[in-house]
């Protein structure tokens, strides 16, 4: 790799970085993506769910080999066991084979002319007279550190986001802002191509258990709970949230899963908070999970990452055209439209998450007992909450207090 100067350097070859790389390369820019991992998408740290809408909007067609199975709808289960099902004939999304999906997005970027370099860790940023100029990169195979310069440097690093921090973006999470999660890939599980979500403060405090269907009667069975909770004593007598015992208890009580095999055992931490306060500065942007652009209800980050990558991509093409890489220009071209669209949706969903975390199991049972499958279709299918919320509040007006406290 002799080339040292690029138009755009992207840190991280996940869905956000590869989408951005594709769009910039397609626009004729010189793009390099550095990823510290030896293989794109590995290790998988994900429930692997993705809605179809965002992908279709980008004019992409996910190849069959990157999809484990189609998702037809969702089933939510109240603490008292009552089930609500929303199902449609069309495919609403997929459970991916995430490693293959990330690799596919990277391949699309390379096909458009972007360079991707795995096993290359960005160790620091380079400034000249205070101005961001480039990055220092350590190749995993050697001890040498190489320097690369670019007009734009973009952090698309996901949860770790250390380059973003080095650039000065406030990406550290508070415990309250994350869910700590555990997941098993299990087999056999006779699913109906529905996403299943189990609620209840005994099942998963400030979170839920999910069962995501996969091919060959497999399923991702996972749990997320608020990381600020103190559910048990962890290492070194530190009290903290421990998701695995809750998940094991759930599986023990599930007729089908209790005898199923575990094919994969892993965990992770998911951002469920507001995005960071600032995505842009001179010559730099943060996109995707690194900017905490993650759905605060379901913890999904792929769709938001791709959306953000696409928006940031067109912003950079504009910036190049105008030869203006200032924070002001990038704010208007990327951050402002993001906050007006995806950000506004995310804000509503964050409020809903905050309402949900105030509910006890009786409240949840009441809600699930009041709304019907049509209401659920409105909520899940169209993201419309008003009617269902009104019905719920008529029967349980004390819930208004929860809303009031939040609006406060």
């Amino acid at each position: 790799m002799d080339k040292k100067d690029y138009d755009v350097i992207i840190v991280g070859a996940g869905p956000a970085g590869s989408t951005l790389a594709r769009i910039c390369a397609q626009g004729g820019l010189d793009v390099a993506v550095f990823d510290k991992r030896k293989a794109i998408g590995n290790p998988v740290r994900c429930g692997e769910g993705l809605g179809s809408r965002e992908v279709i909007e980008q004019g992409l067609e996910v190849p069959k080999w990157a999809i484990s199975t189609d998702v037809k709808g969702a089933k939510v289960i109240a603490p008292n066991g009552k089930e609500l099902i929303w199902e449609s004939k069309e495919t609403n999304g997929w459970i991916l084979e995430r490693k293959l999906f990330d690799s596919w997005l990277a391949q699309l970027a390379v096909a458009k002319g972007a360079e991707i370099h795995v096993n290359n860790r960005v160790v620091d940023v380079i400034r000249e007279n205070g101005k961001l100029k480039g990055v220092k990169v350590k190749n995993g195979a050697s001890s040498d550190i190489s320097e690369y310069s670019a007009k734009m440097i973009i952090s698309a690093e996901g949860m770790e986001s250390l380059t973003a921090r080095r650039m000065g973006f406030p990406t550290v999470h508070r415990l309250y802002d994350v869910d700590t999660c555990y997941q098993y890939e299990m087999q056999p599980y006779n699913h109906q191509n529905l996403i299943e979500l189990y609620f209840g403060n005994k099942v998963a405090p400030r979170g839920y258990v999910w069962i995501f269907p996969k091919a060959n009667k497999r399923a991702n069975v996972g749990i997320g709970i608020g990381a600020h909770l103190e559910t048990s004593i962890k290492q070194s007598n530190v009290k903290g949230a421990d998701p695995k015992p809750y998940l094991d208890e759930f599986i023990k009580n599930n007729k089908e899963l209790k005898d199923a095999s575990t094919l994969m055992d892993f965990g992770g931490v998911i951002s469920v908070c507001e995005p960071i306060g600032k995505f842009t500065m001179d010559n730099a942007m943060v996109i995707g999970t690194a900017a905490k652009q993650v759905d605060p209800i379901h913890g999904g980050g792929i769709a938001l990452a791709m959306e953000s990558g696409a928006l940031a991509g067109s912003a950079i093409l504009d910036a190049v055209k105008n030869n203006d890489f200032s924070e002001g220009f990038l704010f208007n071209a990327y951050e402002k439209p993001w906050r007006a669209t995806a950000g506004s949706k995310m804000g509503k969903r964050l409020l809903l998450r905050k309402v949900m975390e105030k509910l006890d199991d009786d409240d949840l049972n009441h809600i699930f007992g009041t709304i019907n499958q049509e209401d659920l279709a409105e909520i899940v299918g169209k993201n419309k909450f008003a009617e269902a919320a009104a019905k719920v509040l008529v029967g349980r007006p004390q819930l208004l207090k929860v809303l009031g406290a939040l609006m406060g």
Binding site: K36, R37, K38, P43, R45, R121, G140, G158, M159, E160, S161, L162, R165, T171, V172, H173, R174, L175, V178, T180, C181, Y182, A227, H228, K234, Q235, S236, V238, K239, G240, A241, D242, P243, K244, D265, F266, G267, G268, V269, S271
Partner: protein, 75 residues
């Protein structure tokens, strides 16, 4: 400082994401720690879904670890 049981670690970088001092980073396919930066706050332990992080308050160097811990972590 903290010690990580690398065998049990699932490399989710949850610890990095909550570390206020950038003292944990995924390097060379495992989580690396920087004891000089660590302030013994324990937030990483709370966030860790795999329960593989152990805290040794006020220890700044591997040589100061209790012998049992050095043996356990093979350092």
């Amino acid at each position: 400082m903290i010690m990580i049981d690398h065998e049990g670690c699932i490399k989710c970088v949850g610890c990095s994401s909550v570390c206020p001092r950038n003292a944990i980073e995924y390097i060379g396919e495992r989580m690396a720690t920087f004891p000089d930066l660590c302030i013994d706050c324990g937030l990483c332990i709370k966030a860790c879904p795999a329960n593989v992080i152990e805290l040794f308050p006020k220890v700044k160097d591997i040589s100061q670890l209790p012998p049992a811990a050095r043996k356990r972590y093979n350092v």
